[in-house]
């Protein structure tokens, strides 16, 4: 306590001196960019995110192995110069599976986030602006969807329609639009009170224009943040589902599917390279997305002090 006090006093004295002598910093900086730059975590997040993304997209550049190629002669080899992450039970190169798997996982995650955002934003904007029966119905509908634990609803639907990548994205969108719908709707409700909207209405401007050209851009900040964080959420969900064997069909390499091997206690104990690297990659990727999302939120939030 005492030490902290003294440090604080000393800092104040320094600032006072600088003020009296006119040596304080006079530069005017662009607040938003500066804050983002200063947020080291966001920067680190951005870098890690870019690395993983680029390596996945450009997978052929980083590995010459085919993620699906079975090679029964090279089963369960531990990491070596030849196979950076070793091989799995069917002799497939794990590193290649992680790289190519990334493509699918990220695609599913981002695609679902975009789809859910699209539906959520459209419904939220219309509902928030128009109100009435339409809004109440959609609100009820979202409550219904959100009362289910998401994974249970997803699994329920999977059991009904079967596993495929397309199905999975559809199901994710169907179960995930609720959150962004709510957020958009509440933003719209508050923007609706603003005077410029009243003015537009008074001038009898087309409601569609009012909604999408004038009101929506003001809500874009949080929407983008939401898409970012939703992507992370969907990637985690896909991983969980595939880990259970109920996500993307096991033939296709995804991060979750690779982790599926860890279902076996034996693998857990003895063949760590089959699941540990993948898990770390997923964690790093999602972590970096969260850092970026956080940074976006911090720098676009006007209530924060610079």
């Amino acid at each position: 306590m005492k030490h902290r006090e003294r440090v604080l006093q000393a800092k104040m004295d320094r600032i006072l001196e600088a003020e009296e002598q006119g040596t304080y910093s006079k530069k005017k900086r662009n607040r938003v960019v500066m804050r983002f730059m200063n947020n080291r975590l966001s920067l680190v997040g951005l870098v890690v995110f870019a690395i993983i993304l680029l390596m996945s997209i450009g997978a052929p550049l980083f590995t010459h192995y085919d993620p699906l190629k079975i090679s029964l002669k090279e089963v369960l080899q531990s990491p070596s110069g030849k196979h950076i992450f070793g091989t799995d039970k069917l002799g497939r190169d794990v590193f290649a599976r992680v790289l190519y798997g990334g493509r699918i996982s990220i695609l599913v995650g981002f695609g679902s986030a975009l789809g859910a955002a699209f539906i959520g934003v459209v419904l939220g904007t219309l509902g928030g602006y128009k109100g009435g029966v339409f809004d109440k119905c959609v609100m009820r509908l979202s409550e219904v969807f959100m009362s289910f634990p998401q994974i249970i609803l997803v699994l329920l639907l999977v059991s009904m329609v079967g596993q495929s990548m397309g199905n999975l994205i559809m199901i994710f969108i169907l179960t995930g639009w609720g959150g962004i719908y709510r957020m958009t709707r509440s933003k719209m409700l508050s923007i609706k009170q603003e005077e410029y909207v009243q003015a537009l209405k008074a001038f009898d401007v087309n409601p569609w224009l009012i909604c999408f050209k004038h009101m929506l851009p003001n809500a874009l900040g949080p929407i983008l943040v939401n898409i970012t964080l939703s992507t992370a959420m969907f990637i985690l969900q896909e991983a969980s589902l595939s880990f259970l064997g109920l996500g993307v069909p096991l033939q296709i390499a995804t991060w979750g599917n690779v982790l599926n091997a860890a279902n076996d206690l034996q693998v857990l104990k003895s063949y760590w390279w089959l699941w540990l690297p993948v898990g770390i990659v997923i964690s790093l990727f999602v972590l970096s997305i969260n850092f970026i999302g956080d940074g976006l939120r911090d720098s676009s939030d006007p209530s924060q002090m610079g």
Binding site: V144, F148, P149, Q150, L155, S159, L246, L265, S283, D294
Partner: protein, 319 residues
Amino acid sequence: MVSYIIRRLLTLIPMLLIMTFLIFLGLEMTPGDAVSFLAGPEAMANMTQEQLAALRESMGLNDSFLVRYFRWLGNMCKGDFGYSLTSGVPIKTIIAERLPATLELSLAALLISTILGTILGLLSAMKRDQPVDRILTVAGMVGVSIPEFFFGLVFLLVFSINLGWFPVGGRLRPEYTVYWDHMKNLFLPSIVLGLSMTAGVMRYTRSSMLDTINKDYVKTARSKGLPEWRINLLHGFRVALAPVVVLVGFRLPMLIGGSVVIEQIFQWPGIGNEFLQAVRSQNYPLVMMIALLSVFMVLLASFLIDIITALLDPRVQLD
């Protein structure tokens, strides 16, 4: 307060009805003969086609949709949930056997995460921008980023398999005599299940607390000559808690859903595990019933959370 409770209950009931309706719809849409899960497998095995047709008639399976729906609803209220497609065991029995384990796990996770989360969040806010705060903030972000099951796998490996501090999965062992004996089985899974909730609660408590500390009434409290601890706890923390409780309410479905995966990893004999098997074997009656049950749990828990929020912040009762 009482009127608030009644109002909340009244909004709950239509929701429950809608849910049952949807589940019934789902049951109707899935393949499978309704007789088999309504009558039980032994009955099925011993019947001819005519007898089955007659049975269908007598069970009213040829009646209209709505009639069947209400009959099904009525049956449920009497405790008849139908039969499992694969094993023929009455679903009621399955649920009765397995629900307590899941409840135990979920409650433990909820308790740990809210208590730990709020305390850490409070600490983080009080020591803002100091090393403790920064570490906790990053830890929080890591907590929401690592897939829960991965975390579970690592913990299982390190603490159960390698270090041997905890049993490797399962819930009860023959040698357990008292209830508390299996606490060491409960420990790991509940920590893992509560992980993401803990991180979320911690972050939200921190930001809620920082918000509250700057409020005018805190300054008023200080001007009354009250000690700092009282100001922070009774005027700051207490008010900051209400939004956090609301957040917990929002995240409850995730906690209940998370048990599906966690029970798998730790071989915990609960409803989640059962659900997974049912999905894998397309045991629709069981799938639907457990889904309905989970929704019911979510709605009930939300209701309780609303009451707690109203107790913490009386302004809530206004709406």
